[in-house]
């Protein structure tokens, strides 16, 4: 962190830090050492633009982020209160100009995140020394820029970034089976021409001819054997392994891939992570840290964070409410068969078994769930009504977005869909020798939603530039199966069935 001037906390805040840390420990939060640093708004904007890291490889998109953040700040539209990064030790940044009560709130919030990072299973495979790793990446890319020129490198990074969502989000948690051939290849020997007179055999089908047939058949089997033998979801890895990349291209692609995997769990636990941190800042502040004189400011700030705007889902709000709901349900025993089977409304309303299992339950939940399973298991109809959730859709006739339904099932389905695979379409490499021309074929597993076509075209172009040979994508558009193909010069589209 040598890039900054001395950022250690002033004594007053250092005391507060100790105090809040004490409360966090008291509640059983478990985190790596947390290092708070004080930044000016300019520095905060920079670090935020870099995704939380003070040292990233040079790329214009960070500049773009920075522009937006600093504009937002200057115009008073937005302000970054808190930033934490998943690292050991965990780094967190405080904005210098914040009032004390905000700093306390942020600290409490940060300990929540720290606990989540350390304990949630999705983060178990992440590199806890990412701070250093990012800096290494920066150095590697800078060196490449010195060698090859900024245009060339930046251009290639752009292309890699275009593909960065083509990774296997679950790969770190499962061992994908080794390739097994399910269908035994057809090994029956070649028959030769039809021959009803046995004695003519060696004239109609002489041995040399049969050998020739056999050889051709083997060749044919070789040829049709798919490569890869099962669909590969980690497209980036596939490219790293099999695309004819220059060493420097390999290097960059692997950096992009590594960072994509590092950030993936944060995307997979957005609701839980923010919910958990908010739950704890709220608990710590309201039961311990808050002074009487700070209540108004705290309430104001907390309400701001939790605010919902029509038509958008605030992960902080949904997360904290779900955690509270779970705690309440397990405290009162509103779960299990007996609860499920109870039809009497008054009884349900006054249901309380005095179990007091709530706290323990939410600690378990924060360890073992990601957003998908979290929503799947704990979203209840009561919760949807209480939180006023709805599904919105685009109305073609009226050319506007409108509320489509408030049904529980639809809401849950939509939410889960948004969260599955990180909200990304599932796309796999299916054939690296498509049409027997060393072309790459990807398949989009269509689940009711078409791809954005202009983006798909550009992405194909980027993919082609890495694969060097033509690339195709099998997908559905407007209900028809199509193959989008880019051959290095132009796009084509034709109907197809695989």
């Amino acid at each position: 962190m040598a890039a900054f001037r001395n950022r250690s906390l002033p004594p007053r805040l250092a005391d507060l830090e100790q105090e809040i840390k004490g409360y966090a420990k008291e509640f059983g939060l478990d985190f790596y050492e947390v290092i708070f640093e004080m930044l000016t708004y300019d520095e905060v904007n920079m670090v935020a633009a870099y995704g939380g890291y003070p040292n990233r490889y040079p790329h214009w998109r960070f500049g773009m982020e920075y522009e937006q953040l600093s504009k937002g700040y200057e115009y008073g539209l937005s302000k970054i209160y808190e930033m934490v990064i998943n690292n050991d030790p965990t780094y967190a940044y405080l904005l210098e100009s914040n009032p004390e009560v905000d700093q306390k709130l942020v600290m409490a919030h940060v300990y929540g995140h720290g606990d989540f990072f350390k304990n949630n299973f999705a983060f178990q495979h992440t590199n806890r020394k990412m701070m250093d790793e990012m800096a290494n990446h920066a150095t590697r890319v800078r060196r490449l820029i010195d060698q090859h020129g900024v245009e060339k490198i930046e251009d290639f990074i752009d292309r890699c970034l275009s593909l960065e969502n083509l990774i296997d989000y679950h790969a770190p948690y499962i061992k994908r089976g080794l390739s097994v051939d399910l269908e035994a290849p057809d090994e029956t020997p070649a028959q030769g021409l039809r021959n009803e007179r046995e004695y003519m055999g060696q004239y109609i089908n002489p041995q040399t001819y049969l050998d020739e047939l056999e050889r051709k058949a083997t060749e044919e089997r070789e040829r049709t054997r798919r490569f890869p033998d099962r669909p590969q979801r980690d497209v980036l890895l596939f490219l790293l392994d099999y695309a004819p990349l220059e060493p420097w291209e390999q290097d960059i692609l692997s950096i992009i891939r590594e960072e994509a995997y590092y950030f993936a769990p944060q995307g997979m636990t957005k609701i839980m992570n923010e919910g958990w941190a908010s739950y704890w800042h709220s608990t710590i502040m309201t039961t311990r840290a808050l002074r009487d004189s700070e209540i108004i400011d705290y309430a104001d700030h907390h309400a701001g964070t939790m605010s919902m705007r029509p038509g958008s889902l605030n992960p902080y709000k949904i997360g904290i409410e779900l955690f509270r709901d779970i705690e309440e349900r397990w405290n009162t025993g509103r779960f299990g068969r007996e609860w499920e089977e109870c039809d009497s409304l008054p009884e349900r309303r006054s249901w309380d078994k005095q179990l007091g299992l709530g706290r323990q339950k939410i600690f378990d939940v924060r360890k073992l769930y990601t957003d998908v399973t979290f929503i799947d298991e704990f979203l209840t109809p009561e919760f949807c009504i209480e939180q006023k959730l709805f599904v919105y859709d685009y109305n073609d006739k009226r050319q506007t977005w409108e509320i489509a339904t408030r049904q529980f099932k639809a809401i849950k389905e939509k939410l889960l869909h948004q969260l599955t695979n990180f909200g990304q379409p599932i796309i796999e490499v299916v054939d690296a020798n498509f049409e027997n021309r060393a072309e790459l074929l990807l398949v989009h597993k269509h689940d009711g939603i078409d791809l954005k076509v202009d983006h798909a075209h550009h992405t194909l172009q980027n993919l082609q530039s890495l694969w060097r040979r033509p690339v195709s994508l099998y997908t559905r558009l407007d209900g028809k199966s199509v193959i989008l193909r880019f051959d290095g010069k132009e796009h084509s589209e034709h109907k197809a069935d695989l």
Binding site: E67, K270, L389, Q424
Partner: protein, 370 residues
């Protein structure tokens, strides 16, 4: 302290600049950004530079929201997903419309690069150049009248102390020749290439709102370009139907008159204006005239041609005539001008069919580098 991000920020800006360049044609067609101009910066809305991904198309997707409202209630029109791109920073990837501030100078440069406009050479070797004298330093030689007493004294004192000839009891300081210090000065030439743009517009009944919009957009760009080349540019505005009068900028763009068209009236006024207030040896004068090309009579056209030839052309850098197509105009006037001034360096003629033609028309006008 300069932040590391500045480099990326600069890089991003360069890309944006390129993006503006690519889309310049589009920007020029749209009048909207002109309304937004601030003092020195102009804000250009720019869609975020999106890195393409395989991603879901929005329309079938929809999403889950939170809040009041009946089923069927609209959340806001348009293509954008509602509610995206807001909230706490660091949340999701929204689709923002990015606004970029560009200074007029930069805009002019981009315009120049893209349209390949030649740089304007302000005319006349005897342009007014005022020289400003500024005392900027100290020298060891100079006229006695500029001797810097204090510095000279100090220098002498220093020398005397160093050489041990200074006695505090008898503090006499005698400066030598080498001790003397003089003020030195620098002359900064201030070129004052004064420039004048005379905008003339036909506001007769046949010029509709659309035609005026075209004139407005085009004159904005002409203004931007010329301002880039001349400090102290002044603009004057003349509107005419059958009679001409000078108006302010606001009126110029918003008046709608009706009635006939006597172009000569405007030319006469312009000629007088130039002769009286802006003598040609010290002014770079530009005359831009926009009309739908429908003049009152052939006689009047003849008068126009005479005025242009004798009273305007000798005094101006450029006489430009832009003919905006309108459903009512005959468009004869440009043909008459073309006949008379074919090959004349200082005359630029352009026909502007619609907004899209503005781009080409700017080039017609400014491509000569006059």
């Amino acid at each position: 302290m300069s932040l590391k991000i500045k480099q990326d920020h600069g890089r991003f800006k360069a890309i944006v600049r390129g993006k503006i360049k690519q889309n310049l044609r589009k920007f020029i067609q749209k009048g909207e950004m002109i309304g937004k101009q601030g003092k020195e910066l102009i804000t250009i809305p720019l869609p975020t530079i999106d890195i393409p991904h395989f991603r879901y198309g929005a329309k079938q997707q929809g999403g889950v929201g939170q809040g009041e409202g009946e089923v069927g209630q609209s959340l806001g029109p348009g293509e954008e997903q509602p509610g995206e791109g807001g909230g706490k920073a660091g949340e999701g990837e929204g689709q923002h419309i990015l606004e970029v501030d560009v200074s007029f100078d930069e805009l002019a440069e981009i315009l120049g690069e893209e349209l390949q406009l030649p740089k304007i050479e302000p005319k006349g070797t005897d342009r007014i150049i005022t020289e400003k004298t500024k005392y900027t330093g100290i020298n060891t030689v100079g006229p006695e009248s500029l001797r810097h007493f204090k510095r000279t004294y100090k220098q002498a004192l220093r020398r005397q102390i160093a050489s041990g000839t200074y006695t505090p009891d008898r503090p006499v300081i005698i400066p030598f020749r080498e001790d003397r210090r003089y003020r030195s000065w620098k002359m900064t030439p201030l070129p004052e290439a004064a420039a004048l743009i005379v905008y003339i517009m036909d506001v007769s009944g046949s010029m509709g709102d659309e035609q005026k919009e075209i004139v407005r957009i085009e004159s904005f760009w002409l203004d931007t370009w010329l301002r880039h080349h001349y400090k102290g540019l002044s603009s004057r505005y003349i509107i005419h139907d059958a009679v001409a009068r000078e108006v302010d900028r606001e009126t110029f763009f918003h008046t709608r008159e009706s009635g006939g068209t006597m172009i000569s009236s405007a030319y006469k006024l312009a000629a007088e204006m130039i002769e009286q207030d802006h003598p040609s040896h010290s002014w770079n004068t530009y005359v831009f005239h926009f009309s739908d090309g429908d003049n009152w009579s052939a006689d009047d056209t003849r008068i126009c041609l005479d005025i242009v030839k004798e009273r305007i052309l000798p005094h101006v850098n450029l006489f430009a005539y832009g003919q905006v197509e309108s459903p009512y105009g005959s468009g004869q006037f440009i043909r008459d001008l073309r006949e008379s001034y074919e090959g004349e360096e200082r005359v630029a003629l352009s026909e502007i069919a619609d907004k899209e033609a503005i781009y080409g028309s700017i080039k017609d006008f400014l491509g000569k580098g006059q």
